[in-house]
């Protein structure tokens, strides 16, 4: 394995982590959006607030991580992607800003009207951002980002069958992940009504996600031939594992076995993301730019790798501690009435 391959693996590790952790954050916002009117939605919203409150900033370090690795190690790809896809990237960035600030503001205002406005901004951007991220992935996978640090078509590059599939799939996947996590969080708080509430929604959105993935196969065959061929050959085992995990979590949810449903849900999502990476191997931009052709000089790659290992040693234990404390409800509450009360 060359250094450039190793850094490409590191890059995909970051993308997977962002999908699994950051994705659930966006998904929680989607359930906030779909919770209904102020009274009907109060309880699910309180649970969403309660469960993402302590960790929601931490989850977005992965996006920074991915961007930094990309521009340091694969700068031509970075230039091509940012030049071509500046519209969805800008929308996603603004969505992240609006989402974060309105999430914070909502807790600091008391009038229902104010809470509703901030809540709407938070929830709407929770849909917008994963859609843009999925559309960006679709643009790259379908070969619409030209190599050479050049700008491709600013609109057609991300408004096309594969991008729309990517966006829809991303929104469905994060909603599914969040619902499964929220089932578990509600159970920790002994809130049986919310367990049932999110369990039903998890089952429905799992089926929807499966359906989108199935349609996706047909879309990719028409629109993204290289990635389609990859998914049906070298990435096929990952696709099968992901599908089995998804199916397994669905069955466990139906049978009320929530703990392992969560593990399998993570497996299903991680499986899709890694399968995408393997399917477009050895290309960063299929089929014009290979990983090895865009790699920075070896000294840079080695530095990135060393920094990654150091960061893993320093940051992963603290992140793990944060998640464990959060799961055991040992973190000081951010001051929102507990969903259990």
């Amino acid at each position: 394995m060359s250094w450039s391959d190793a850094i490409a693996v590191v890059l995909f590790f970051g993308i997977t982590a962002y999908a699994v952790f950051g994705g659930a954050d966006f998904g929680a916002g989607i359930w906030d959006l779909l919770a209904g009117g102020a009274e009907k939605g109060e309880r699910p919203r309180a649970l969403v607030d309660h469960s993402i409150g302590p960790v929601w900033e931490a989850n977005h370090v992965w996006l920074i991580f991915v961007l930094v690795v990309l521009w340091t190690a694969f700068s031509e790809t970075f230039a091509s992607v940012t030049l071509t896809l500046f519209v969805p990237l800008t929308l996603a960035a603004l969505g992240i800003v609006v989402r974060g600030s309105s999430f914070a503001f909502r807790k600091a205002v008391f009038r229902t009207r104010d809470q509703r406005n901030f809540g709407a901004a938070f929830a709407a951007s929770s849909v917008l951002v994963p859609f843009c991220m999925g559309a960006i992935a679709g643009a790259i996978a379908s070969g619409r980002v030209p190599a050479g640090g050049k700008a491709g078509d600013p609109w057609e590059s991300w408004i096309n069958p594969t991008s729309i599939l990517g966006g829809a799939l991303a929104v469905a996947v994060v909603a599914y992940l969040a619902a499964v996590y929220l089932v578990w969080d509600a159970r920790r708080l002994d809130d049986d009504r919310m367990v049932e509430y999110f369990r039903r929604r998890a089952v429905v959105v799992a089926i929807v996600t499966g359906a989108i993935a199935f349609v996706g196969i047909l879309v990719l065959r028409e629109d993204s031939r290289y990635v389609f061929d990859g998914l049906t050959s070298r990435a096929l085992p990952l696709v099968i594992i992901s599908a089995l995990c998804g199916l397994g979590s669905l069955i466990l949810l139906i049978r009320h076995s929530h703990r392992f449903a969560r593990v399998l849900a993570i497996g299903a999502v991680a499986g899709i993301v890694i399968a995408w990476g393997v399917a477009q191997w050895p290309y960063l931009l299929p089929t014009t730019l290979e990983v090895s052709d865009d790699a920075a000089p070896e000294a840079t790659l080695i530095s990135v790798f060393v920094v990654f290992i150091a960061a893993a040693i320093i940051i992963l234990p603290s992140l793990a501690l944060l998640y464990v404390l959060d799961q055991k409800s040992l973190l000081p509450d951010e001051g929102v009435d507990s969903a259990a009360s």
């Binding site: 940012t82 030049l83 500046f86 800008t90 603004l94 800003v97 609006v98 600030s101 914070a104 503001f105 807790k107 600091a108 205002v109 008391f110 700008a151 600013p154 951010e334 001051g335 929102v336 009435d337």
Partner: protein, 189 residues
């Protein structure tokens, strides 16, 4: 070159620029660089002004701390003059201004380069159209977020003043519950 008025300290700028070889360092002016690598006059003036602001405020804040330190050392108390309290009250804002001025020094001071000696700003900038629109949208979003932040904070402060019993410690970063006098203060965090 015209000599500026002031108290001359021979070789001092030379030592500041590179202490390793004493007064031997010759400080180069703008005209020592090829014309296409020179900053414009207004850029140069911006850097000069920002530098003065940064160093001036830094010195002021240093003197403020020294004032406090000396008084504390001898009297174990805050300096009493109103002047001290007034400056201390605005020192937070002053330090932010000093920091921003420092950014202006580094960013404008590097012109016309984005990576010094390697790449010019004009070569690094996107060739996409619509940059102005993106800029305006971002400016608008941050203006809204900024104004909202101030309004929300003022609202929190007002509610707290009007009704101290309000359980506002439930708000993130809101005031904590009053601590009984005489008891040890809990660390706020």
């Amino acid at each position: 070159m015209a000599r500026s008025r002031g108290i001359p300290i021979p070789g001092f700028a030379s030592i500041l620029s590179d202490p390793s070889d004493g007064t031997a360092t010759v400080i180069q002016g703008r005209d020592a660089f090829p014309e296409d690598e020179q900053p414009t006059i207004s850029e140069t003036n911006t850097v000069h002004l920002a530098w003065d602001v940064m160093v001036g405020l830094g010195t002021l804040l240093f003197l403020l701390s020294a004032w406090f330190g000396i008084v504390w050392l001898f009297r174990r108390d805050l300096p009493k003059p109103k002047l001290f309290l007034r400056i201390a009250a605005i020192s937070g804002i002053l330090s932010v201004i000093a920091m921003e001025a420092g950014w202006v020094v580094t960013e404008v001071g590097r012109q016309p380069w984005i990576v010094f000696g390697e790449m010019k700003v004009e070569d690094a900038a996107t060739a996409n159209t619509g940059v102005w629109m993106t800029f305006l949208v971002i400016l608008g979003v941050y203006a809204v977020v900024g104004v909202t932040t101030v309004l929300v904070l003022r609202g929190m402060a007002r509610r707290w003043r009007e009704n101290e019993a309000l359980a506002e410690h439930q708000v993130p970063y809101g005031p904590r519950e009053p601590v009984d006098s005489g008891t040890e203060k809990e660390p706020v965090g």
